[in-house]
């Protein structure tokens, strides 16, 4: 059997001879290359691009590989939620809030319910059990949203494993959601003045088990990324936002705290029972993409802390406010008593009777400050409902932030912003 050789194989001496021939026959290189006409290139990124987390489109103007101008284009997921809200009762809008930040539907439900309850003037009269369960909902949603944010962020900068790893843990949150609300994704759990149902039996123990497991998962995620040379090189010093810019552009949530501003609506204006619970607000120092990542990691640990306190302190009692004009009365009484039947009928057909007036309620959502501005002229329907979505406002800084960065940094910066277009476009 003869020697196995590559088809293109040449003896080294023959290759050297061929190279010498080519060199002799080749024209001498020009003394000086003429200046190439340099032209800026316009690159369209998105709306269907894996790192845009939905349908964000950015038109980038490039000089070589450096961005000179960035024009974000949003609205590809615009569904007119604010218009829809003007045409239905307050309770009917709860399912639409699931579809805002669809990675944290429980937190949106709570934010919306609290806004309407503030308009009704009952946000301080909710039963304690309802308030504790709502805090649990918010913190579960925060962990779920951050796990996905980190997983996809790591995948965007090249680490596939983290995504699979964090999704294992999110699956457990979905299982908890399923047994709590009946749905894994579109929870619609809150009602005006309460919740759609109480905790199912054994749920607290399941949630405790989850708390023990997720802490391990967060630590493992950190070992994948925090000291990972590639991840650090891709994110440290990339997308630096100064304190002044962060405030001026109205950033909120982890993106604001990454720039070193210690502001959390749960601390600054405590709602529900956050003033009875102990937790810390992590802040960054440099304001780069790496700091925003660190803030999210620590926020998840604080959320677990909050979850454990709520589970230990969980009081007994009703979950709905005891006012048939606001929350639906229990079904067994509706079918047997006149007054409850009337309340049920009015509540379903006309909705709660809100006073005329206007309120704004800002809620610390996983992505930032989710605000609802409700302008009421009285009755069961808002005259105007404005959703101040954190993703929409956070993306406003991109035209300022992106120029000067390389094109591959866009992916790292977008990942560190952790936005959701369902909420941005509403």
């Amino acid at each position: 059997m003869g020697e196995i050789r590559d088809l293109q194989y040449q003896e080294p001496a023959a290759r050297a001879a061929q190279a010498a021939r080519a060199l002799a026959g080749a024209p001498a290189p020009a003394a000086e290359l003429p200046d190439l006409p340099s032209e800026k290139m316009v690159l369209n990124m998105g709306p269907s691009h894996p790192s845009t987390h939905g349908v964000l489109r950015i038109v980038l103007e490039l000089d070589g590989e450096v961005i000179t101008k960035a024009m974000p284009d949003v609205g590809y997921l615009h569904r007119g939620d604010e218009k829809i809200a003007e045409n239905m009762t307050y309770s009917q809008f709860v399912p639409y809030t699931d579809r805002l930040d669809y990675l944290a539907p429980l937190a949106n439900n709570v934010a919306y319910a609290l806004a309407v309850e503030k308009l009704l003037g009952i946000d301080r009269q909710l039963p304690p059990r309802c308030q504790f369960i709502r805090v649990i909902c918010c913190e579960l949603a925060r962990i779920s949203s951050h796990l996905l944010g980190l997983g996809s962020y790591a995948m965007d900068v090249g680490a596939m494993t983290v995504f699979l790893h964090t999704f294992t843990e999110r699956e457990k949150i979905y299982n908890l959601c399923e047994s709590l609300t009946g749905a894994r994704f579109t929870t619609s759990y809150t009602r005006i003045g309460g919740l759609s149902r109480d905790l199912p039996p054994g749920w607290i123990d399941q949630c405790r088990k989850f708390c023990r497991e997720v802490v391990v998962n967060i630590d493992e995620t950190e070992t994948f990324l925090t000291r990972n040379r590639i991840f650090v090189d891709r994110t440290r010093g990339v997308g630096v936002i100064s304190r002044e810019d962060a405030i001026d552009y109205g950033l909120s949530g982890p993106n604001l705290r990454g720039s070193g501003i210690e502001h959390d609506l749960r601390k600054a204006h405590p709602y529900l029972v956050y003033d009875q619970l102990q937790f810390d607000v992590p802040v960054g120092s440099a304001g780069d993409s790496y700091d925003r990542y660190l803030v999210r990691i620590e926020e998840m640990r604080q959320s677990v802390r909050l979850l454990e306190q709520c589970l230990n302190k969980m009081p007994a009692g009703p979950v709905n406010i005891q006012d048939g004009k606001i929350a639906l009365p229990p079904k067994d009484r509706v079918l047997t008593r006149m007054e409850e039947l009337i309340h049920h009928f009015i509540n379903v057909t006309q909705g709660v009777n809100a006073p005329p007036g206007e309120i704004y309620f800002g809620h610390e959502n996983p992505k930032g400050e989710l605000g609802f501005y409700i302008h009421s002229k009285g009755g069961g329907t808002p005259h105007r409902l404005k959703i101040r979505s954190p993703s929409f406002v956070n993306l406003g800084i991109l035209p300022k932030l992106l120029p000067g960065h390389m094109i591959s940094d866009v992916v790292a910066i977008l990942g560190s912003f952790d936005f959701v277009m369902g909420e941005c476009d509403r």
Binding site: G75, K83, G121, D245, G250, G357, H375, K386
Partner: protein, 200 residues
């Protein structure tokens, strides 16, 4: 500890002719600014002297059938004193224009574009007043109360077929602006006549 009410009174003391008495509802303080033209001046003072460094939101409300038709609400907040404040102003339909506050807070940029997009109010001096959620060239303002919930029929911009196809002169041709997708479909060209091959 400063309160929103104290800050509102200080703002009112600076502009006594412009600003109404503070109204309180559910613990929120609202001031009404009588002249829309003065809003950048009032906001600049609130930011510079009263520490309202964070613009939370700008919203417009349509009171169709009333005069003045529109209301704008500016939600201010200060990280130094943690006090929120709402400024309101009224705007008639004939005018539909007011000065921008992008010079005070950069965050106002996208909020004002959204109000222009949804309600059709123009902000004088805005650096880039384009539609933001709807597409460029959309003829209506969907959040106005006289716009029906079901929407109105509109032509979508035909991005792919408004210009000659890249293969113009090649073996396939397409007609820009054909009435439906079948008419716009690329077809084989008859080389001699430079016309389209008849449809089978």
């Amino acid at each position: 500890m400063t309160t929103s009410l104290e800050l509102a009174e200080r703002l009112r003391a600076k502009f006594p002719a412009l600003i109404s008495a503070p109204a309180e509802f559910r613990g929120e303080i609202t001031l009404e600014v009588s002249d829309p033209e003065a809003i950048p001046e009032v906001c600049a003072f609130a930011k510079r002297e009263l520490g309202f460094d964070y613009l939370v939101d700008i919203t417009s409300v349509d009171h169709c059938g009333e005069d003045p038709r529109f209301t704008l609400a500016y939600h201010l907040y200060g990280y130094g004193h943690l006090c929120p404040l709402r400024l309101k102003l009224r705007l008639s339909e004939e005018k539909s224009e007011l000065p921008t506050v992008t010079g005070v807070w950069r965050a106002a940029d996208w909020h004002e574009r959204e109000i222009y997009d949804m309600m059709g109010l123009r902000f004088r001096g805005h650096p880039d007043l384009r539609r933001i959620l709807m597409w460029e060239g959309y003829p209506y303002f969907p959040l106005r109360k006289d716009f029906p919930l079901s929407g109105k029929p509109t032509r979508l911009p035909e991005v792919a077929f408004t210009e000659p196809a890249p293969l113009d002169g090649g073996p396939f041709v397409t007609i820009a602006g054909g009435k439906d997708t079948i008419a716009r479909e690329p077809r084989a060209r008859i080389p001699e006549t430079d016309a389209l091959e008849p449809r089978k």
